[in-house]
Point group: C2
Chain length 728, copies 2
């Protein structure tokens, strides 16, 4: 069965081919943009963003190491221009400008560059923010083609001659800061005004309801007088009304000289706000500035099931709320970038926004810089998801530049992981390593856990592909071998040949008699199991209610994916309707960090021992986007960047469904009922694979029979295919 991982083995063939096609695609007209040391903007912005979490006005910074941008970097380009160019210079930080090795005095606002070949270099210092430049002439423009280093080692000898040596120049980082005024240091998400839906008296104050989960800045209109005003935020009505225990709040103080419209400077997640003001304070109304990352909803899904459509819509909204400066876990809490959570956001993103920049930003924020002294987010599994996330990024976008630029950081993180293996070559938590896997009471996490070894094996395979892309063939061989050896060992040790399932744990050389869902479900969509093993795992583990149940949408994501990969779309559809439908029935306007159908009323709001501890808008709650796009519409890439892909529609019991799955430069549109399949794609070569009880017909192309009742149609770009068939 093909899936997002099964093409690992054949992938290397594409690498060299693809690199060539990319480089020619890059020759589009140049536009100037702000540039910086790659990864430094992301490090800087994630530091700023993640420290904005508060808990009842206490700042609550992340628990892992912060990295810093380089305060002093050198940008360099070599040009050959047909005519003289007058080049404007904008810089974040004082700079030293060398034109052909000669220092230009002062801090010029522009420079005249004669026609011909030149080497231009800017050394920029900025301790407070991050060094960045924007250079704009007719021919000479700062863009992704520039190089940068944090140690230029340019020295001047006794005679005044400049010497340069041993410098690691890397491609610059950039995003969408395409005007001089639009500086990286000034980055802000977009905002728009939003009115309250309802306002009611609440004790000594007022309760404002914005109608659904949202995020932004409270505005007070018609504000007059002097005194104090408190804002108690709630993702639930109960939380906003509980001023003593709500998770976030603000105490404001006004001296009577404020303007009539006040906008608070701290953003929060909420649906409700309780406002309590001193008697001396009057105001007319409360509204908000909704804050968001502008993203196109390029993916879409609609079906004959209204509840499912609502699940998709709320999933998409949940995903959008948590797709911000970075893919974060939850908008009330933690407002942090967690690798395990982000990994799912990457996958959902490929089926909704296909926003590559957000994936890159998040990967870079998570990875930080060298030296590596702890796992990503200090969690063993989270380091490993990071590698697979890089691989998936390449698979979906076809972009090799990211891997080429950051391969050294991939390698140093993998070195860190490999050094932490025990004498058996398995990862076992050392001091400072947190093994997460999932929130689940009584889940054993010590010793050698099969799930971690499986993730490491997959990470090693991702490293092998990446090493090849980075042109490190020795590394490629080494990672390939390490991956193969580990996989063999994984099965030798953890696969129970009698029971035909994967065991969970070995301690001091003794296999523990525990079976959990984790390694078993990953083994399915990693394609690590034989068909026979898969069937056994499906029946003995996935569909076995005696095996420790999964209660978080986080692992639910993979559990349902594994079942879909086994063709259990009918079963999964019912599960989705129960689980996500259950949250909707509880009044959810975005999906939660955790849902237990057995809980009642305000029990749903509690977590971590706190009455409102649970996040009611959590990215990992949005997985139906991914499941519906990949396993019902059935679209997925089978070669980097959708140069090849597959469409395997599966109604899972629906009467009909239609939708779109975005690709790098287009989309795959699919309609499927029990009688008709329509597809149209913007790029690449697709294989429409479907089952039919009767011989199907198409308006274009040729249908091939693959097996009994199984057919294939090659999908070329920009052709609308209409296939009439009869669902089994």
């Amino acid at each position: 069965m093909l899936n997002r991982f099964s093409i690992f083995k054949t992938l290397l063939l594409f690498v060299s081919l693809f690199c060539c096609s990319l480089s020619s695609a890059q020759e589009k007209p140049k536009e100037a943009t702000w540039i910086w040391y790659p990864g430094d903007f992301e490090v800087w912005l994630s530091n700023k963003m993640q420290v904005r979490r508060t808990e009842r006005e206490a700042v609550f910074p992340p628990l892992w190491q912060y990295y810093s941008p380089y305060a002093l970097v050198t940008f360099q380009t070599e040009v050959d221009i047909p005519k003289p160019d007058e080049v404007k210079i904008f810089s974040e930080g004082p700079f030293q400008l060398l034109l052909d090795g000669v220092q230009i005095y002062g801090q010029p606002k522009s420079i005249a560059v004669p026609a011909g070949k030149h080497k231009i270099s800017f050394k920029v210092y900025n301790q407070e923010v991050l060094p960045a430049i924007y250079i704009n002439g007719k021919y000479i423009k700062s863009d992704a083609s520039w190089k940068v280093t944090n140690e230029d080692k340019l020295w001047i000898d006794e005679t005044g001659k400049a010497q340069q040596s041993g410098t690691p120049w890397v491609p610059v980082g950039s995003w969408n800061f395409n005007s001089p005024e639009n500086k990286p240091s000034g980055f802000k998400l977009t905002t728009k005004p939003l009115s309250a839906k309802k306002t009611e008296k609440a004790g000594i104050g007022q309760l404002v309801d914005f109608g659904k989960e949202t995020f932004g800045y409270i505005k007070i209109h018609g504000l007059k007088g002097k005194g104090k005003l408190a804002l108690y935020y709630g993702e639930s009505r109960e939380e906003a009304l509980d001023s003593a225990k709500c998770e976030t709040l603000d105490h404001l103080s006004f001296d009577g000289k404020q303007s009539e419209t006040y906008t608070h400077d701290g953003s929060k997640a909420f649906r409700y706000v309780q406002v309590q003001a001193d008697a001396g304070i009057k105001y007319d109304s409360i509204s908000m500035l909704y804050e968001y990352l502008p993203l196109d909803y390029r993916g879409a899904f609609k079906s004959s099931d209204e509840q499912l459509n609502k699940i998709w819509d709320v999933s998409a909204y949940t995903m959008h709320l948590t797709s911000r400066e970075f893919f974060i876990d939850g908008i009330k809490r933690d407002r942090w970038v967690w690798s395990g959570d982000a990994y799912q956001s990457y996958l959902m993103n490929y089926y909704l926004f296909f926003d590559s920049a957000s994936v890159e930003r998040t990967l870079l924020a998570l990875r930080g810089k060298d030296p590596v002294t702890a796992h990503v987010n200090i969690i063993m599994d989270y380091s490993l998801y990071w590698f697979v996330g890089v691989y998936d990024y390449y698979l979906h976008t076809g972009d090799t530049k990211f891997i080429k630029t950051f391969y050294p950081r991939m390698k140093s993180l993998m070195d860190f992981c490999l050094e932490r293996r025990n004498k058996n070559g398995f990862l076992e938590p050392l001091e400072g390593d947190w093994v997460f896997i999932d929130w689940a009471d009584g889940l054993p996490k010590t010793g050698e856990v099969s799930f971690e070894q499986m993730l490491l094996a997959r990470s090693l395979e991702a490293m092998a592909v990446s090493a090849e892309i980075a042109g490190k063939s020795e590394d490629q061989k080494q990672y390939q071998k390490l991956g193969t050896d580990l996989k063999t060992k994984l099965f030798d040790v953890f696969w129970d040949k009698k029971e035909n399932v994967m065991k969970h744990q070995r301690i001091d050389g003794k296999i523990q008699n525990i079976v959990t869902r984790y390694a078993n479900m990953f083994g399915i969509f990693f394609n690590y199991f034989t068909e026979e093993q898969k069937q056994s795992v499906k029946n003995k583990v996935l569909l076995n209610k005696d095996v420790l149940q999964i209660t978080t949408p986080y692992m639910r994501f993979y559990e349902l994916e594994a079942l879909c990969a086994m063709g259990e779309q009918d079963y999964v559809l019912k599960e989705m309707k129960n689980y996500w439908g259950g949250m909707l029935n509880e009044g959810a306007t975005s999906f939660w960090e955790e849902y237990n159908p057995n809980k009642k009323g305000t029990e749903h709001l509690t977590m971590y021992g706190r009455p409102y501890g649970k996040s009611l808008c959590h990215a990992w709650g949005a997985s139906p986007i991914y499941l519906l796009g990949k396993y019902y519409l059935g679209v997925k890439p089978t070669a980097p960047g959708y140069s090849e892909y597959e469409i395997k529609p599966n109604l899972g019991g629906l009467k009909w469904m239609e939708g779109k799955v975005p690709t790098p430069n287009g989309e795959v549109a699919v309609y499927c009922s029990t009688k008709e399949i329509k597809v149209k794609a913007g790029e690449g070569e697709g294989k429409l694979i479907f089952e039919s009880a009767s011989k199907p017909k198409t308006n274009s192309g040729t249908i091939t029979e693959l097996a009994k009742n199984k057919y294939q149609l090659i999908v070329k770009p920009n052709v609308e295919y209409k296939v009439s068939y009869k669902a089994l």
Copy 2:
């Protein structure tokens, strides 16, 4: 012969003894002070300072990598207090406060801590400057006893329970920021007003002379009108008058609304300033704010030779001008921290200011943080001086805390150096390595250079001592062996047994027929040579004018030290009077980067192909302070922190001399004429060793005869010894 290095072998005996005595000395009454992650203030301040160099208004940043402070750190202390304490909190950056693991809401300005045992932790974020706190209660105060980490790995499990693991806690950094207002981020050197000595017309402007080399901010008094005003700075009259080629200048612009007294915000090095103002601008006079690090002149020297006294005074002034935020090379240029230059400043400092804080700051600024990707200042020799500088710091101050705190950074730098050895185990420049040694035309620097191997051997010995102090006995053994082996190999390869001198270089296995002074003079005061080898080196190299001459005061420092170490004080005195006296005769008011007696007039100002390229106030020009204190007054430590020391006065042809050499908590005062020696010391046990033609007498203690005409007197603290003797 004992010298600053010869006690390496016996030093380890002192380590454990000394640690104990230090810890009891630290139990003084507590004072609150600002604390930070160790080394981060120094990294931050050196970034700021070193980028202040300008060349004709172009910012001229250093050519090596800048490091950054950690933006997020956690401070922690455990206390046991007899009564409740009201503790004030001051922070640079928002913080999260945990008392006994429980988060305190908000950003409190103070906190009430009940009596008894508590664990207090502050997680502080500051991206722009550096996170720092100042905590002040009756019992609980932030001080050097607190610990800090940049990755506290404190996480909260599903039940809300806080977990902590695998965290490297280190002692905090601190200096003298002892009040809430006196924040690290606000650090400024001290200033005081200074008047001009002379003002004269100069073309369209005015030339202001401050009488001697100085440093600071130009002030304009009685400023009126609108227009432009230019300041052209000169360390020489010629430079200030040459507006087109002077190295530093400022273009100011006034709109008529400025106040009457203007102080420029950029500090410069100068003696002269040429002021050119538009016709619309009037002013009464020019003065300056002299900027300096407040330091006690604890060392002193006076003698029967007035020129020598002047040399000492100008050396001390030169040393003070270059002892600033850090020990820098020169105040006009480079205004940077160079390890080779700083190493000499450390040594001079021990004979003038004995300011330990400046040594620590400079060592930390140079070392930066991990990972090590290049040599210190990208120069091979400069990495090696750094290790020896750490060792010397321990020897002079007896402080073990610095080594204990920063041993990991010592080790990672040494790892970097060791990895760069060639297959013969020698350092040979790789891509990106700059071999400096000295400015000297035609000095070969490629292949295996004996000088670099000798510095590496010494660095390995310093690492062995440091490893022992840091409690890493395996490391100690390893470094000891590496050092011994390298020393053996150094002599096997480079010592010419026929000529009895050390050769300079080997290329591709072939010894080059070149002898230079460098390894030969270091071999003397490193005590690497036998007595016979020393004599040979002295005659065949040091006193041989056919061997490539040294023209920089930088290497002159070591050349004269080697001669002094060989008892050539008479010869060296004449050399000092010629060389430094020569600069005084040229009108020097501070000592220069380079001096060639054969040059004439403005030729003295040129360097690096620029007419005023030479720095006329360069730290390495101040070596007479060191030579006179160590080899004429003859005072030096022979055990860490002057617990034992030696006084070996040597008049070198002077009629008399007197002076003081500072020790950690006192000073050694010495008077010596041809008939009388007087000494008094504040601490430690000294050995006064002197030669006398007659049997000497003392007012206290007992004189022992060591050999014919050679005597010793044990010097106890706070006793004034008067010895009558007869100089040979």
